[in-house]
Amino acid sequence: MHEVLSNEMLAPNLHRMVIRAPRVAAARKPGQFVIVRSENGAERIPLTIGDADSIEGTITLFVQAVGASTKKIAGTNSGGRLRDVAGPLGMPTHIENWGRVACVGGGVGTAVLYPMAKALAEAGNEVTTIIGGRSESLIILADELSVFSAETRITTEDGSLGRKGFVTAELESLLKDPMRAPQSVFAVGPVPMMKAIAELTRPYGITTIVSLNPIMIDGTGMCGGCRVLVGGETRFACVDGPEFDGHLVDFNNLSDRLTTYREHECRVVQQNKDDREAA
């Protein structure tokens, strides 16, 4: 059992949770994730390790409460316990000093981006951070990212904060500026965003790393459910990833496979809602 030490809501349905997991905290590197199961019967949910404190033996997780099982995790308050936390899993982010890098986050993807961006800054990169969301309330971690970013740019679809539009517009202006253009781009967010960024950087030949979030069960390579097509080859996101060369990822197949259980998930969420209303 893993104690929840804090649980705060950063944005609607997005929680930042600090959890006691000493072994994971000691072993974890940026880019890795854990599999969390809140209780018996719950799904195994992969969650990126946002941060870790190996001395305190804690890890920070960002949980977007969208389905039944993620809602149960996010609904576990400070003092509560999560039954299973396994990890750290996946390959760590490949960190080197490229010089200038752009880190692009969309929605909850910004939480996954955070540990990568922090590690890149610590490695001596000049980090330009671009984060976006539908509206101001969905922009997260702007202050935290600003601590180590040379510049932080914000976009919202409704214009409630920063530039109106998408993160791609900001990245494009960066790419076109010879004095600011990054040597490498890291992008985490919804699949259409990552796809758009990969297409944007492709003509520039800039290394573009994306972090993928396919459906996963064991997280150790055993089931192959998280398979993605990268450069025409089947790769397992849990052991080969979750980060891949964005120019080689088949995003269409990824987004298609992500819809596999949409109908099921809607039904479960509706059922839980009905149960609550009936109670």
Binding site: R23, E43, D84, G87, G219, T234, F236, H264
Partner: protein, 484 residues
């Protein structure tokens, strides 16, 4: 009537017992165990068939060397406690083995009675005595932990090999900790074998016996990720690696990333480990196909197709590229599958998974095969019949082609010697190239059986005990302490 008074002729005149089974019509809609177990009367009668021959070829045929005639003799005398004790001394998982071992190619295949008639139903009797022990679980049955040896052992993986090694080492007084990557115990016994062949309560009870021997089990520890093998070697006096088979072999045909295509591991893990489709309060989803095709001919393929049937598939089909005679699955499993209405589509190989415009599986394109010349394995090689291509309707396709070595642990320790398939190399005692590190089960063998993994666990445990008690081998090693 007692066993001792019968003459061999009288013993041979007793017909072999038939395992009572759940009706096929009932069972294809539920996950209840198919084999119901023998009654006391049936078991005693069957045990009397054993000739108690001097040569005991059955013991030779058992990968864990159970003293088979001894426990059968005890059953014949209605002394079930004695039978249970014999089994527990020799086998950490008798109630499991009595259910899933391929006895027909092991102990029973060498039974003297089998030369003229049918062999003693050793597997059924093992299950009977083991189930009796679980039902009458008491101190009198349980093995007791001896005084501590002062040595500690880390076991990686709580599957059949790891559990067996743990039990063997614990009864020698060594402090054993099992590290399991998943959230629950049992390994392939739990995630791989469906409830109707091996109920989870059996695994729970057999594993709970380990706690009685002082074995610690820590779940959610992925060795190679959460802790390194190097760290375990520093903190324990010996290590046994039994982390299982690993990565599913993919089909390598177009369409395998369509929605509705599963590896057997994924399909079975969802259902068996997570409870998808079985437990009302289970959050893990599964696609219940109307028309399900499973590719493969082994026990795993049988498990998948029979699960699909129980999840409501009107058509549940098995596609296998050779003929039924070459199927690696147990005869009993094939028979049970047929009774449940599984269609066997033989001499057929998959060519392409067909999809609809939304990315969902809609069928499997197949190539008709025929058997040609024998290949390296001695089995006749399937070759395509030119022009014979046909499509099967399917909304779920499950690939049960097997697994290959998972590099998760082995890749983190370059000095650990692997073979060309990336499985761990061991000597005849289960020792790896690293001092004090032993290995067994599927990480050594590739995909094999529960009982062979258990045999590995038993053999390695014996070598580990020798290693731990050999004073010269433990010098310079730090005092053992559990990983914190």
């Amino acid at each position: 009537m007692t066993g001792k008074r019968l003459t061999p002729k009288e013993r041979m005149a007793i017909p072999r017992v038939q395992m009572p089974e759940l009706d096929a019509g009932q069972r294809r809609v539920n996950f209840q165990e198919v084999n119901l177990g023998l009654s006391e009367r049936q078991a005693i009668m069957e045990a009397m068939r054993c000739l108690q021959c001097q040569s005991k070829p059955c013991v030779e045929g058992c990968p864990v060397g159970i003293h088979i005639p001894l426990f059968i003799e005890a059953i014949a005398e209605a002394d079930f406690l004695r039978a249970a004790r014999v089994l527990q001394r020799d086998n950490a998982l008798p109630a499991v083995c009595g259910r899933v071992c391929p006895q027909e190619v092991q102990c029973e295949s060498s039974c003297v009675l089998g030369k003229k008639g049918e062999p003693v139903a050793i597997g059924h009797l093992e299950r009977f005595a083991a189930d009796w022990a679980l039902l009458n679980d008491s101190k009198s049955v349980r093995l007791q932990a001896p005084p501590p040896s002062g040595k500690s052992v880390a076991i990686i993986g709580c599957g059949p090999a790891g559990i067996t090694a743990a039990a063997e080492l614990a009864v020698k007084g060594h402090a054993v900790t099992i590290f399991e990557a998943l959230h629950d115990t049992g390994g392939v016994l739990r995630y791989g074998i469906p409830e109707f062949r091996l109920p989870k309560r059996i695994i729970d009870r057999e594993v709970s016996r380990l706690a009685g021997l002082g074995v610690r089990i820590e779940c959610n520890v992925v060795v190679g990720k959460t802790v390194t093998l190097r760290r375990l070697r520093e903190e324990f006096d010996a290590v046994f690696i039994a982390n299982g088979a690993g990565l599913p072999i993919m089909l390598g045909i177009p369409g395998e990333n369509l929605k509705g295509v599963y590896s057997a591991n994924e399909y079975l893990t969802r259902v068996n480990l997570m409870g998808a489709g079985q437990d009302a309060d289970c959050a893990t989803p599964i696609i219940r196909g109307h028309s399900v095709v499973v590719i493969g001919g082994g026990n795993t393929a049988m498990d998948c197709v029979r699960v699909a049937r129980r999840l409501g598939a009107g058509r549940a089909m098995l596609v296998y590229r050779r003929s039924e005679a070459e199927m690696p699955a147990r005869v009993e499993e094939v028979q049970h599958a047929k009774e449940e209405g599984i269609e066997m589509i033989l001499l057929t190989a998959p060519v392409e998974v067909l999809g609809d415009e939304s990315g969902w599986t809609r069928g499997l394109r197949c190539q008709k095969m025929m058997l040609g010349e024998p290949d390296a394995s001695g089995r006749r090689r399937p070759v395509p019949v030119a022009g014979e291509i046909h499509d099967l309707d399917a909304d779920v396709v499950i690939n049960a082609l097997g697994t290959r070595a998972n590099p998760l642990l082995t890749a983190t320790e370059p000095e650990l010697k692997l073979n060309r398939w990336k499985n761990i190399e061991i000597d005849g005692d289960g020792a790896t190239s690293l001092d004090g590190v032993f290995a067994g089960g599927d990480i050594v063998r590739g995909g094999a059986t529960v009982i062979l993994a258990m045999g590995d666990g038993k053999r390695a445990a014996s070598a580990m005990h020798a290693y731990l008690t050999d004073a010269s081998s433990s010098t310079g090693r730090p005092m053992a302490s559990a990983v914190q």
